[in-house]
Amino acid sequence: MLLAYHAGAQTADDTVSTENLKKLSVEELMDLEVTSVSKRPERLLEAPASVEVITGEDIRRSGAPSIPAALRLTNNLDVAQKNSHEWVISARGFSSDVGNKLLVLSDGRTVYTPLFSGVFWDRQDYILEDIDRIEVISGPGGALWGANAVNGVINITTKSAKDTQGLYLDAGGGMDPHGFAGVRYGGSLAPDVSYRVYGKYSDWDHNALADGSDAHDAWHSGQGGFRIDAQPSTRDSLTLQGDFYHNGEEIQSGGVSTVSGGNLLGRWSQTLSDTSGLSLQTYYDRTHLILPVPGFAFAPAGTLKDDLDTYDVDFQHHFQLGSHSRILWGLGYRYTHDVVSNAPALAFFPTTLDQSLFSGFVQDEIPLREDLALTVGTKVEHNDYTGFEVEPSTRLQWNFADRQSLWGAVSRAVRAPSRIDHDISEPGPDYLIVILKGGQNFRSETLVAYELGYRGQLGPKAGAALSTFYNVYDDLRSTSISPPDPIFHLPFPFFFANNLKGATWGFELSGDLQPLDRWRLHAGYRLLEENLHIKPGEVDFNNALNETADPQQQISLRSSVDLPRQVQLDTDLRWIDSRRINNSGVAAHVPSYVDLNLRLGWNVSHALELSLAGENLLHDRHAEYGVPGPQQIEIERTVWGRLVCRF
C-alpha cells in the first residue's frame, strides 16, 4: 500500500531456502505457488507527491465489497459512509455533503458531476477483481489534471482484457450486502485482440436511525460492460471499453431515486521511441438521475431529473528534449450538455446548460544532478464560468541515499464553479420565497499548497512515508445574506459567495512492515488542522463551518497474514477522531469511533475461493457523518460470505 520501494527481498530466516529450491527441476519450480509482488508503475513510485496505491490484490484481500469501501485502505483519504449508498470522501479536509475538491478518474474518464463538482460514489463500480489498481494522490494535481484536482486525485485503473481471460464467477450475501452476483468472461478475438464482458448485480440492506428503526436507504445496483484491448503492432495499443448501470435507491426523506447511465471510451497509444510516445483518448458518458425532493419553504415535494452528456477528447505526447529534459504535454476538450427538470423545492437555472472546457498542459522533468530532479509544469484551462485558469506546479525530488528520498512542491490549484454554486434555486422562483440561490458572481476557489515529504525503505522489510502540507486557500464558498425585503424584512435569498479564506496544515504518516514472509503490517496516522475564517467585513451565514466536516486525526492499522492450508486473514482496524459538522452555523460533532473490518479467505483450489467478511464489527451501529439527531443515519455491523470461481 505504502509506496515503499518494494522488493521481493527476503533474509536468512526464510522457511523455504534457496538451496532447497535449487534442487528442484524446472517443472517442479513451475509447480510452486509463489507470493507475488504486485507490479506498480515505477514512474509513479518515483513521483514527488503523496501517493498511495491500492492494488487489485489489496482489494481482494480486504474483502471490500465496493470501491468506496476499498478507498478506506488508504491513509491519505477520509472516507465516511453517510448512508447505504452515499459516501463522503475527501483528502486533506473539505468533507461535506457536496464536497468538491477531489478529482476522480475511472480508466481515464473524469467522473465528477458538474452539478456540484463532486462524485456520486454509488455509480462508480466494476467487477472488483478486474481493477488493476487505485492510485490516490493527496495534494494538488491541477498542473496535470486541471480544475477540481485541488486536494487530491483518485485514479481507478482496470486490468487490460488480456489479463482477465477466462470465466470468473462471484456470488454471495449476508447482512449487507444482502446478495450479490457477478460474472465476467474474457477471451480472444484474434491473436493480439483480447476482450472481456461482465455483468454484476448487488442488493444492499438499509441502515438504521439512532432508535434502531429502518433508515430507508436500501438500494440495488446492476452494471454490465466490456473492454477490448488490441495490439495491432509492437508500437501500438488500442482500447475500447464501455459500461452501463442502473441503480434504484431508497431515499431517507421518502421515495426511490433512480440512477442510470453508461459510457464508451476509446484510447490509442503509440510508442514512438524509447523515450517518446503519444496517446489519444476520447469518451462519451451519459448519466441520468431521478431524485425525489421533499417539500421546502412553501414548495411541495417533487422530483428533480438531471440528464448529463459528456463528450471528451484528450491528446498527450511525451519526448526527450536534448540530453536530459523530459517533456510531457497535452491538449484536451470537453463538452457537456446538462438538462435539468426542476423539482418545486430544488431547481437549477438555466435548465439546459451547454459548456465547453478547453485545456492544455506542459510538464518538464529536468534531472539537475544524478540524485536531484526538478519537475515544473502548468495547466491552462478555459471554462465558461471564469474564463482562463492557470495551475502551475514545481516539484523537487532529492534521492539522498539508496532508496531514500525527500521531495518538496509548491503548487496552485483552483476549484472552478459548478452548477450548485451558480445556478441553484431552493425552492424554485415560482414559490413565495427563495431561501438559497447560486451566486451570479461566484468565482473559482484557489489554493496555493506547500508540501514536503519523505519516502524510503528502512531495511529489507520495512518502509515509511511522511507527507506534510501547508495549504493556503482563498475565495472559498460562503453563504451571504440578502438585504431584508421591504414586506417581511427577511434576509432571503441566501446566496453563494467567495467570502472565506484561510489555511490548513497537517501530515500523513504511514509505515509498512513485513515481520515474516507471510505477514504484512501497515500502519497510518493522519493529522489535519483547519483554520478558515470569514474575510474582514464580509459575512457567512454558516460561520465558516459548512465546507469542512472533517476529523482532526485518524489512525489505521492493518494486518495481512497467510495461514496454513491456503487460508488468509486480513484485519483493518481504524480510529476516526470526532468530526465537526455544521448545524446551521453552529458546530455539532459526530463522535469519534474505533471499528474493525475483517476478512477470512480460503483458496480451496485454483478455481475456488471462499471467504467470510465483516465490516464495522465492533459496534451494532455507529454514525460516521451527519448532524446528530433522530434523523442521523448509523452504519450497521455487517457480515457476509462470498464464493469465487475462476476457470
Binding site: 522488493a7 521481493g8 527481498a9 513451475m30 509463489v34 497474514v561 484485519t571 474493525l596 465492533l618
Partner: protein, 177 residues
C-alpha cells in the same frame, strides 16, 4: 473496551503460525541460476577461461538479496557466478545473462537492440517480453511462474537452450530447428 477487543484480535493474528511458500523473486532468482546451467554459451562469450559468469540486472533490482543467495559459491565450467547491477541501460557491461527489470519498460526495445549480436541471454518479466525480443520471459499465471521462450532470438545470439528448459516452456515466435 472496543479498542481493547480489537487489539486482542490483532494480537491473535500476530500469533498465528505461518506456512512456507517462496516469494516470486526468490523463485525467479533460482530460475536465473538454472539458466546458467541449462544454456550453452559460445566460448567467445568469456574474456578468459577464468573470467566470471556475470548475471546482470538492469533497472531497479527486484531480487533484494535473493539473486546473490542463489549464485553464492556456484560456477559454470570454471567461471565463478557473479551478480552485477546496472542502474541504467547505458551502464550495462558485458555479461552472460541480463535481467531487464520492469522499471525499464520504456527503454526495453533500446536495451535489446544495444545488445544485438552479443551472446547475452536476455530475461525479463515485462509483459510480452518474449514477443518483443527477449529470449526468456517470466509470466505469472495464477501465482505460478511460467517460462516463455523466444528460441529464434536465443539462436541468433549463438545460445543453445537445453530441452530441460524448452520442454516445459511456451515457445514464442517461430519454432526453429
Amino acid at each position: 473496551m472496543p479498542l481493547l477487543r480489537a487489539l486482542a484480535l490483532t494480537l491473535l493474528v500476530m500469533a498465528a503460525p505461518l506456512c512456507a511458500a517462496p516469494s516470486e523473486y526468490q523463485v525467479k532468482a533460482v530460475f536465473l541460476f538454472n539458466f546458467s546451467q541449462f544454456v550453452e554459451w559460445p566460448s567467445n562469450a568469456f574474456a578468459s577461461p577464468d573470467a566470471p559468469f556475470v548475471i546482470g540486472v538492469v533497472g531497479e533490482d527486484p531480487f533484494g538479496t535473493q539473486l546473490d543467495a542463489a549464485v553464492r559459491g556456484e560456477s559454470v565450467a570454471g567461471h565463478p557466478l557473479k551478480v552485477k547491477r546496472y542502474r541504467r541501460a547505458e551502464d550495462v557491461e558485458p555479461c552472460q545473462i541480463l535481467f531487464i527489470s520492469a522499471t525499464e519498460l520504456a527503454r526495453f526495445d533500446g536495451i535489446l537492440s544495444s545488445l544485438d549480436g552479443r551472446s547475452i541471454l536476455t530475461v525479463s518479466d515485462i509483459e510480452r517480453a518474449a514477443e518483443r525480443g527477449a529470449m526468456i520471459q517470466f509470466a505469472n499465471q495464477d501465482n505460478h511462474l511460467r517460462l516463455r521462450i523466444n528460441v529464434a532470438a536465443a539462436k541468433a545470439a549463438g545460445l543453445t537452450l537445453s530441452s530441460k528448459l524448452l520442454r516445459p516452456a511456451e515457445i514464442v515466435g517461430e519454432r526453429q530447428g
